[in-house]
Symmetry: C2
Subunit: 228 residues, 2 copies
């Protein structure tokens, strides 16, 4: 359950509505290694219902994959970072929306005729299969988190995951804002904020720069705060 009117407003930034999609995308033959595209912060890469013509590999930046319910509630299925593949879907149309969390550069590949492509290049099939299995693994773990973990456990798991994927280090900068984290973890902005603040008070993490910069101070404690 989530607010209806304020949440809806929060999820339709006027900027995002104004600049939908890049002007014209040059068509290249299928064997092409991919077309380079830029998207500004907040811009939609594709929208639910769009024809699923392309899939993407991220060169730099962060992408969120999300779905909205009609009343404005939003669920962010996943965040994707550099080198991740996204946008490959069964069927003709995209069932989710992909948006740039910050400035993003991607390589776009044609999805049509993918079967033929794989027939020609079995290694590609293997790579895509691996990428799909990886997405599926991630989605499954996230199901467990959403279905059965407390707010504190969710945040702990999220921070550990992000740290690993973003830096491998214990020090990183969150590319997304509180509302994105909330909609990813099935929480509200307020609960995310409160939980982070409390974790900082407990000495598990350090927070700087508008709460965007995070440092893991007590990795064991944070791991224990997750439920595994």
């Amino acid at each position: 359950m989530q607010a209806i009117s304020p949440a809806a407003a929060r999820h339709f930034p006027p900027a995002a509505l104004a600049m939908r999609g890049p002007a014209a995308i040059p068509r290249r033959p299928a064997a092409e290694p991919g077309v380079r595209l830029r998207f500004a912060k907040g811009e939609a890469i594709y929208t639910e219902g769009d024809e699923a013509e392309r899939f993407y590999r991220i060169v730099s930046g962060t992408v969120r994959i999300c779905k909205m319910l009609h009343d404005g509630r939003r669920q962010i299925e996943a965040f994707h970072f550099a080198r991740d593949i996204f946008g490959l879907e069964r069927g003709d149309g995209h069932r989710f929306t992909a948006e740039a969390v910050d400035d993003v550069v991607v390589l776009a590949f044609r999805a049509r005729g993918l079967e033929d492509l794989i027939r020609d290049d079995p290694d590609l099939g293997g790579e895509l299969m691996t990428s799909l299995l990886s997405s599926l693994d991630r989605a499954r773990d996230h199901l467990v988190l959403l279905g059965r973990k407390s707010a504190r456990e969710k945040i702990a798991a999220f921070l550990l995951d992000i740290a690993e994927r973003l830096s491998g280090d214990d020090h990183f900068e969150l590319p997304m804002q509180r509302g994105d984290i909330a909609d990813h973890l099935g929480l509200t902005i307020e609960t995310v904020s409160r939980t982070l603040t409390r974790m900082a008070r407990d000495g598990l993490i350090g927070l700087q720069a508008c709460g965007r910069t995070v440092e893991i101070l007590n990795r064991d404690g944070l791991t224990a705060a997750d439920a595994g």
Copy 2:
């Protein structure tokens, strides 16, 4: 949040612990169409951590894919019915457990050397890819449900989904018990029961036979009760 001691007890039926795995599985060449196996109600088909040697296609029965947290909380990632493929995972080991909800018959296929198999038979690759994409779609929709829907919306969505997959009809029998539904939808047994009872009182559904037989009486109402 979930109970700790009672829930844990509920999830370790002595029967399931007693009879782990079928005795001996005959090894056949890779091109084999699949080895037929039977599993009794409650039996584990594979357990988290097991080597992922095989994947499966269901001939008959219902399978649940689940993960337990150490304190006994459980999340059921998915239910699978006849014709569904499950058990294909990235990496060497199963990260989830598959259990027979009722008596189950499956065909088991060797997962090792799958890349070679696909190289030999590109159609198989396509079929598996489709199956994977289908699982991913399903997992993503379920993420939205778990993260952002109310108890009533969850149950409504669940019933509509099950009806479609199980019978295509508005009349069907639930193969799983309340605890399974609860752990699939991120709820408790009591909330599932109460919500179903209320839906029956509201004339949306009919319930018979220990609440196992369900009839959809008002499909529009039920669809409206979901959030889409």
